[in-house]
């Protein structure tokens, strides 16, 4: 299938990536080439096959490991915020959201 300009706009919005008008044609063209590749899967008969989300599923016992719900980390807020584009008084700064 081929993407329409509306579909591309919708995907770009969901992905939070700005696609300029100048880029649109080239982006669509290459996305369509990739969609052509993955569309080959539509012809595969997978009736009765369970989706596989863990790569070892099926051959090895896979279980979700959960840890006890307790504090395991020390407070390193300052170190973590050192790389933030804008932080102040322990808070991350972003443009105003609520008027």
């Amino acid at each position: 299938m081929s993407l329409t300009p509306d579909q591309l706009r919708r995907i770009a919005l969901l992905a939070r990536i700005e696609v300029s008008d100048a880029e649109q044609r080239g982006v669509t063209e290459r996305l369509n080439a990739v969609l052509g590749l993955i569309d080959q899967l539509q012809a595969v008969d997978t009736r009765g096959i369970e989706p596989m989300s863990h790569p070892l599923d099926g051959r090895l016992p896979v279980r979700q490991r959960l840890r006890a719900d307790e504090v395991t980390e020390a407070d390193r807020r300052e170190a973590y915020q050192k790389g933030a584009p804008a932080a102040e008084k322990g808070l991350y700064l972003v443009p105003k959201v609520i008027e």
């Binding site: 992905a15 990536i17 982006v27 080959q40 070892l56 099926g58 105003k96």
Partner: protein, 486 residues
Amino acid sequence: MLNSTLSALGAALAAKQVSAVELTGLFLARIRALDGKLNAFITVDEEHSLAQARVADERRSHGAAGPLTGIPVAHKDIYCTRGLRTTCGSRMLAAYTSPYDAHVIERFDAAGAIQLGKTNMDEFAMGSSNETSHFGPVRNPWDTARVPGGSSGGSAAAVAARMAPAATGTDTGGSIRQPAALSGVSGLKPTYGVVSRYGMIAFASSLDQGGPLAKSAADLALLMNTMAGFDARDSTSLERPAEDYGRELNLNLAGLRIGLPKEYFGDGLEPDVRACVREATRWFEGQGAKMIEITLPNTALAVPVYYVIAPAEASSNLSRFDGVRYGHRAGEYADLAEMYRRTRAEGFGTEVKRRILIGTYVLSHGYYDAYYLQAQRARRLIAKDFAEAFARCDLIMGPTSPTTAFALGAKADDPVQMYLNDIFTIPAPLAGLPGLSIPCGFDATGLPVGLQIMGDYFAEAKMLGAAHRYQQATDWHLRAAREAPL
């Protein structure tokens, strides 16, 4: 010294023929001399490396040295390092320094290895040529007009040019094995869950696996003994007893059942690659191994399956890069939504954006079942192929890549051609299986060819044993790259 194996370097350190400071200095000088041409490193901090080397020498003088103490190791710039910036090959993280170390880095530090620098890579490990790096392409040390492979192209080129005796990499769809093949070095992608993903910047979490690149299989075994191990901070890390990856280096090849999948020797394989791989398998046959023709009938589905699953997982993983907590933030924006959109448009390169968009699409309402669930079902078919094959053979052999190193720019603008080139390396990670690549000859123009050896879950020691036996009888792996003479 530059062309020595890790065990030889370890012996020289132990015999006090060389100090860790001298050895580190030797490789730093080599990097200084060659990296202007090859661009294999993004960050080198000589003082940091030499300070670690002094500590290693001190440790040795106290009699507390292990096999890797004082050995310099280059790290793919996907592993978070507290002391060196971590860019993941992206503008998004061009100025990022991690507040913590990856588990793999902790393990090498604890072993007394020296961080030699951070190697160049395709942006967020998305690429097979190292051309998607924000820091420019890496050049192949055998022919600087060609790519080294990717995404761990900097690591492969660094080892090939003997700028580092060993390096770390990560493999999602071939990112250790393919650059190892194209650059003429040895590389291992372990079983999924063997090496912790903690602090390894995520691309596709159900596929990503760290592993080593080095000159020889014996060196890979030594590196695995340090890299592998349970880590509670990675939810898919496997709880298994520690193993010695070098325990089968003297593997008896007589009676070993080697599967040759017919799908790996079909059309599209360069004749020289076919000839080198065939000659290598004939060598194993000469040692008494039993060649078994097998079929992996769903091989052709691997690339389409991968290009649904990997972008889907990437679109989710990379949503964290929003210009709020770390990394790049756009300079101009009117509101929060625009800040996100512009930050991501500026911070990510073309290939990364393409994969995020594909992933977003296949996960979006109305397409999830047709693409994502269908790909996960087909993924199980691929895993079943391998399960049936490994009921009949101990190892599978074939080419790592259908071609030798291609020219810079040759596929850069054609994503589908680039993706299809990974046809032989994509299946193993979809099934979580280990695979390695070792040099097995050269094509008519003198470019290295890689032999891929795949094994069942946790068969790394056996795979390394087969590779080691081959490397004892051949010297492909010890040849110096043409444009980086010793």
